[in-house]
């Protein structure tokens, strides 16, 4: 419940405040979102399996975001930024789908 409220408040703040993101940070935002979504789905799956731990969730959320951004940064420095972003997104999307499948099985037994 709090998670949904937090999400809505975040969206509302984003719309009202309209923050200006520094230019150098901009390429990493989409990757950071996908990484965070991966952590969210992982956390939800753990919750369904009654293995959820809020500390693990917080750490995985932040480390996912940081590692994904770092990989893209590294790719940019090596001159393979576009490929690296694609690779990171593909891997994270695969994890999200795997987690979503597990959640679906746990929640609907289907």
């Amino acid at each position: 419940m709090i998670a949904i409220i937090g999400l809505l408040v975040g969206v509302a703040v984003g719309i009202l405040w309209h923050p200006v993101v520094p230019l150098w940070l901009e390429p990493y935002l989409p990757i950071a979102i996908v990484a965070a979504l991966d952590a969210v789905f992982g956390g939800f799956r753990a919750l369904m399996q009654r293995r959820f731990d809020d500390r693990i969730f917080a750490v995985s959320f932040l480390s996912n975001v940081l590692i994904a951004s770092f990989l893209v940064f590294l790719g940019d420095q090596l001159g393979v930024g576009a490929q690296m972003s694609t690779g990171v997104v593909v891997v994270l999307a695969m994890r999200i789908f795997a987690n979503a499948a597990a959640i679906r099985r746990l929640l609907f037994r289907a």
Binding site: A3, L7, G10, P19, V21, M48, R50, D54, L62, L106
Partner: protein
């Protein structure tokens, strides 16, 4: 993925847990709520960020931008060159005597006459002979030939005894290919006025005219000639 066998039991408790969490928030949930707030903020920022045209380049990478910049500067150089040429022409026309304007008009008239085929043309060019004993060459090949000659910079083209102009046409018939109704027989003579080296090179590139003619079993010969004349003209007709 390590899925345990007792999924069904977990699903029951999982749903119960969900329901409980929805109504009884506890302290660690605040941290999770904060993280979700961050996520919502990120999504919003990314989704509503692109506004205005200049943002199109904001997410582009350095190498892409360099490429775009190179293209633009090359284009700018070309356009500047053309601009200065036209400006010079305009200055000549405006400040110069009527004679100069007349000369320019004559030059354009001459170019248009050559293009429309109403005047004889002479100069360096290429003579092309296609011998087609088996009758494998059809109108499409000749249209292609004319097209390739024009692409290679031929100013004037003659096929058989006919001057090729903008409204020339080829057709297939019982006796072979005809140009504007005149049968060409089994052997085609083409004369093209233009840079001979360029035209010869264009004819002999892989997949070019020479190759496509030879694959049909016909013979293809070109002769460069510094002094060719196309004397066939089409009558001048008044504009409709």
């Amino acid at each position: 993925m390590t899925m345990s066998g007792d999924d069904s039991v977990e699903a029951e408790t999982g749903r119960g847990l969900l329901r409980r969490l929805a109504y009884q928030p506890s302290r660690p949930h605040l941290m999770i709520g904060a993280l979700f707030l961050l996520l919502g903020l990120l999504i919003t920022v990314v989704v509503i960020a692109p506004s205005g045209d200049e943002d199109e380049w904001r997410n582009a990478r350095t190498e892409d931008l360099v490429q775009v910049l190179d293209d633009l500067s090359a284009r700018q150089a070309r356009l500047e060159e053309e601009s200065s040429r036209l400006a010079e022409l305009r200055r000549d026309l405006e400040s110069g005597s009527t004679a100069e304007a007349l000369a320019e008009a004559r030059r354009q008239l001459e170019a248009l006459r050559v293009m429309s085929g109403t005047t004889p043309v002479s100069g360096a060019g290429v003579q092309i002979t296609i011998d087609d004993p088996e009758g494998q060459i059809d109108a499409a090949v000749l249209i292609n030939a004319v097209q390739e000659l024009r692409d290679a910079g031929a100013e004037a083209i003659q096929v058989g005894e006919t001057r090729v102009t903008v409204d020339s046409w080829f057709a297939d018939s019982e006796e072979g290919v005809t140009i504007e109704g005149t049968s060409l027989g089994r052997s085609f003579d083409l004369v093209a006025i233009g840079e001979p080296e360029t035209i010869s090179a264009a004819m002999s590139i892989p997949g070019g005219l020479a190759e496509s003619v030879r694959t049909r079993g016909a013979e293809f010969r070109t002769t460069s000639d510094p002094n060719l004349t196309i004397s066939v003209t089409v009558p001048v007709t008044a504009a409709p």
